[in-house]
C-alpha cells in the first residue's frame, strides 16, 4: 500500500490498484502549516493553517464549502489538498494513500488525475498565447494516457459536453476569443477530462460576470449529482455557498471555527465569527431597509 505502482500508461487505461475505493475519499488529519519569516535571529513564525481536520466520504459525493476572509488560510489549505505544498505536521490521506508518500512523475500524475483544481481567474489560468484546446489535449495525454489526435479530441469533446460546450466552439481559439463564462467552463472541462473524484475550486465564480455566475454555480450542482464528483468550494461568498453546498466549514486565521450542514450553519450560526460574517452579507432586501 505504501508505494504507488506506476500505472500502465501504454494501455490508456487507469488502474486503481493503489488507491482503495472503499475507504474515505479524503481525510485531512490535524494538518498545520507554519510559515516563518526572518533570518536566524528575530525569526517569526505564522500558522497559516492550524490543526485542521475533516473528511469527505467516498460513497456520498458532496460539495463542501470552505468560507473565510482573505488571510484565513483557505487557499493554503487548497494547495495542501492538491499536494502542491507539504503540511508542516499532520497527514492527508486520499483513498487510503498518504499524500506525502507520493513520489516521482508517474505517482504525481496518477494523483493529479483523481484530484483536479479550478482556479479563480480564468483569464490568468490560461496562457494568452496558447490555444485553449491544447490544455484539454494535454490533460487527455498526461492524465488519461491517451495516444493520438482523434482520441484526444474525443476526450476533450466529451468533457466539454459535460459543461455545456462542445469542441467546435473551443477548438483553435485563444483565451481572448472566449468570454469569461466560456473560459471558466473550459477550465472546468479541463479538470473533468481525467474523470476526477475530487475537484478543488478556489473562488471559481468571483471573476465571472453576474449574468453568467449562476450557470457556473448550477454546473457544480450537476457535476455532483450526475458525475458523482465531490467538490471543495472555496469562497468568501456566503450566499452562493448556501445555494450549492451540502456542508460548510468556516475558517478564521487558519482555524476552523464552525462546521456543519450548510443550511444549519448559515441560518443559525453558533460561533460569533460566523454570526459576524452572516451579518455582513449584503442583500438586495437592504434596499427596503434604508
Amino acid at each position: 500500500m505504501q508505494s504507488l505502482r506506476p500505472r500502465p500508461v501504454e494501455s490508456g487505461l487507469r488502474t486503481h490498484e493503489t488507491y482503495q475505493l472503499n475507504s474515505d475519499l479524503l481525510t485531512v488529519d490535524h494538518v498545520t502549516k507554519v510559515y516563518s519569516t526572518g533570518g536566524v535571529l528575530g525569526r517569526t513564525t505564522f500558522a497559516a493553517i492550524n490543526n485542521v481536520s475533516f473528511s469527505l466520504q467516498a460513497a456520498r459525493p458532496e460539495i463542501l464549502a470552505i468560507i473565510g476572509e482573505s488571510g484565513s488560510g483557505k487557499t493554503t489549505l487548497a494547495r495542501i489538498i492538491l499536494n502542491m505544498i507539504a503540511p508542516t505536521s499532520g497527514t492527508i490521506t486520499f483513498r487510503g494513500t498518504d499524500l506525502s508518500r507520493i513520489h516521482g512523475r508517474r505517482g504525481r500524475l496518477e494523483f493529479m488525475s483523481h484530484v483536479q483544481p479550478i482556479f479563480q481567474n480564468p483569464f490568468e489560468a490560461f496562457n494568452p498565447l496558447k490555444r485553449v484546446d491544447r490544455y484539454l489535449f494535454a490533460s487527455a495525454r498526461r492524465f488519461v494516457g491517451l495516444r493520438g489526435r482523434a482520441a484526444h479530441e474525443a476526450a476533450a469533446d466529451r468533457a466539454l459536453k459535460q459543461v455545456g460546450l462542445s469542441l467546435g466552439e473551443v477548438k483553435g481559439r485563444f483565451p481572448h476569443e472566449l468570454s469569461g463564462g466560456q473560459l471558466q467552463r473550459t477550465s472546468i472541462a479541463r479538470a473533468l477530462v481525467s474523470s476526477p473524484a475530487l475537484i478543488v475550486a478556489d473562488e471559481p465564480v468571483s471573476m465571472v460576470d453576474a449574468s453568467l455566475r449562476m450557470s457556473i454555480v448550477n454546473l457544480f450542482k450537476s457535476l455532483r449529482d450526475e458525475l458523482k464528483v465531490s467538490i471543495i468550494y472555496i469562497t468568501h461568498d456566503l450566499a452562493t455557498a448556501y445555494y450549492i453546498s451540502d456542508r460548510v466549514m468556516i475558517m478564521q486565521k487558519g482555524k476552523v471555527v464552525e462546521t456543519g450542514p450548510a443550511r444549519d450553519v448559515l441560518s443559525n450560526p453558533q460561533h460569533p465569527y460566523t454570526a459576524l460574517l452572516r451579518e455582513s452579507v449584503l442583500s438586495s432586501d437592504d434596499a427596503d431597509r434604508r
Binding site: S179, A210, S211, R213, M214, N218, Y242, Y243, R263, L282
Partner: protein
C-alpha cells in the same frame, strides 16, 4: 434645482486602425443621464459593458484610441461643458470639485512614501495654506471620518486593505468635492470590511453633501448604497429607476434576470441562468443588443434598437416587450465636425 451632472447623448468610441482598416468599438453609445444634487447614482453592468469607459469620458480622462464622438457633459459646479476646459483648468477642478475613488487603493498611495506625503501630493495645491494649517485640516478631516491620526505616518503596506481603502476615501473627500466618482471601491474587500467601507462612503457623502456616481457590478452593493440605479448592457443604459423600484419592479428582461438570479441565504430554490454571453462591442448585434439572449425577443427587437423611454415616474426602460409605449431609437451618425479629441 440644477442637476449635479447632466450627460446628454454621450457616445465614446475606441478607434482602432489595423493596416488601414478602421474599426470602431462603441463602448458608450448614446447615454443620457442626470444625477441630482446629494444623490448617489449607482451604475451596474458586467465587465465590458462600457462602465469604465463611461467613467473615463465623464471625468474627461480621454486618451487615444478612446474618442468622444458626440455628447455634452455638464457639471453643476461648472458653467460650461467639461470638454471646453483647457488642460490647466481641468487639473484645477480635479480633486477640488471632482474626485474619484478607485478599486485598488494600493494604486493611489505611493508605496515608498508615508501616507502623509500622499495627502500633500494630492491635496496641498488645492488648499493653499501653510503646511501646519494644512495638516490641521487633514487631522480634522480624518477625525470626522473616524480614522486615527496615526495612519498619516504609516506606509501603505503597513495598513490592511480595508484601511487603505478608507485612507483613499479620506483623500478623495479632503477638498469636499461637489462630485465623487467611485469605481468598484469595495470589490477587492472582504465581506466584513466591505460593509463598513460602504457605511463610511455613505457618511462622507452625506457629511459633505457631495453627489456621486457609484459603479459596481454587484447589485447587492447597490442595494446598500445607491439612491437610483442605471443598468448598463453592451454600452447602453437599458433601465433606470430608484433602487427599490429596480429590485421590486424590474421591467427590462435583463434587469429582471439579474435580480431574480441573486443568491440569498435562506433560499435554495434553483436559479435559472441566462444563456449566451454578453456581446462583443466591436461587433454588437443589430437592434436591441440584448435580443440574442432575451426570452421575450420579437421581430422589431432584431431591427431597431429601443429608445430609453420614461414609462413611470423616474423609471426609464429600453425594451419593446416591457411596454408598447417604448419608441424605436434613432441611429444617429456621429456629430458633424467629426470625432473630437479630448482637449481642443
Amino acid at each position: 434645482m440644477e442637476a449635479a451632472l447632466l450627460v446628454e447623448n454621450l457616445r465614446a468610441y475606441y478607434l482602432m486602425r489595423y493596416f488601414g482598416i478602421v474599426r470602431e468599438v462603441r463602448a458608450v453609445d448614446d447615454i443620457s443621464i442626470e444625477v441630482q444634487r446629494n444623490e448617489i447614482y449607482g451604475l451596474a453592468g458586467e465587465s465590458s459593458s462600457g462602465k469604465t469607459t463611461f467613467i473615463k469620458t465623464i471625468a474627461a480622462a480621454i486618451r487615444p484610441p478612446l474618442k468622444v464622438a458626440s455628447g455634452r457633459i455638464k457639471y453643476g459646479f461648472l458653467d460650461r461643458d467639461i470638454y471646453d476646459l483647457s488642460p490647466e483648468a481641468l487639473s484645477a477642478i480635479r480633486w477640488k470639485h471632482l474626485s474619484y475613488i478607485t478599486q485598488g487603493s494600493m494604486n493611489v498611495l505611493n508605496p515608498i512614501r508615508r501616507v502623509r506625503q500622499s495627502f500633500l501630493d494630492f491635496a496641498f495645491r488645492h488648499i493653499i495654506r501653510s503646511k501646519r494649517e494644512f495638516f490641521k485640516i487633514v487631522d480634522g478631516h480624518l477625525a470626522r471620518l473616524h480614522l486615527a491620526p496615526s495612519v498619516l505616518s504609516a506606509y501603505p503596506h503597513e495598513l490592511s486593505g480595508g484601511m487603505r481603502q478608507r485612507v483613499a476615501i479620506a483623500l478623495a473627500t479632503i477638498c469636499r468635492p461637489e462630485f465623487i466618482i467611485a469605481d468598484e471601491p469595495t470589490t477587492a474587500l472582504d465581506v466584513v470590511v466591505q460593509k463598513s467601507v460602504l457605511r463610511m462612503i455613505r457618511e462622507a457623502q452625506q457629511e459633505f453633501g457631495s453627489s456621486m456616481i457609484f459603479v459596481t457590478h454587484d447589485l447587492t452593493v447597490h442595494a446598500n448604497i445607491a439612491d437610483r440605479l442605471g443598468i448598463m448592457y453592451a454600452g447602453r443604459i437599458v433601465e433606470e429607476a430608484p433602487t427599490r423600484e429596480i429590485f421590486h419592479n424590474p421591467m427590462h428582461p435583463y434587469t429582471a434576470h439579474l435580480v431574480a438570479s441573486l443568491p440569498r441565504i435562506g433560499d435554495a430554490t434553483l436559479k435559472k441562468a441566462l444563456s449566451g454571453a454578453p456581446p462583443s462591442l466591436a461587433d454588437p448585434p443589430g437592434g436591441c443588443r440584448f435580443h440574442p439572449r432575451c426570452p421575450l425577443a420579437m421581430d422589431i427587437c432584431r431591427q431597431v434598437h429601443p429608445a430609453l423611454t420614461t414609462l413611470a415616474a423616474n423609471h426609464r426602460v429600453a425594451c419593446y416587450a416591457a411596454s408598447p409605449l417604448v419608441k424605436p431609437g434613432a441611429e444617429l451618425a456621429p456629430a458633424p465636425g467629426g470625432i473630437r479629441a479630448a482637449n481642443p
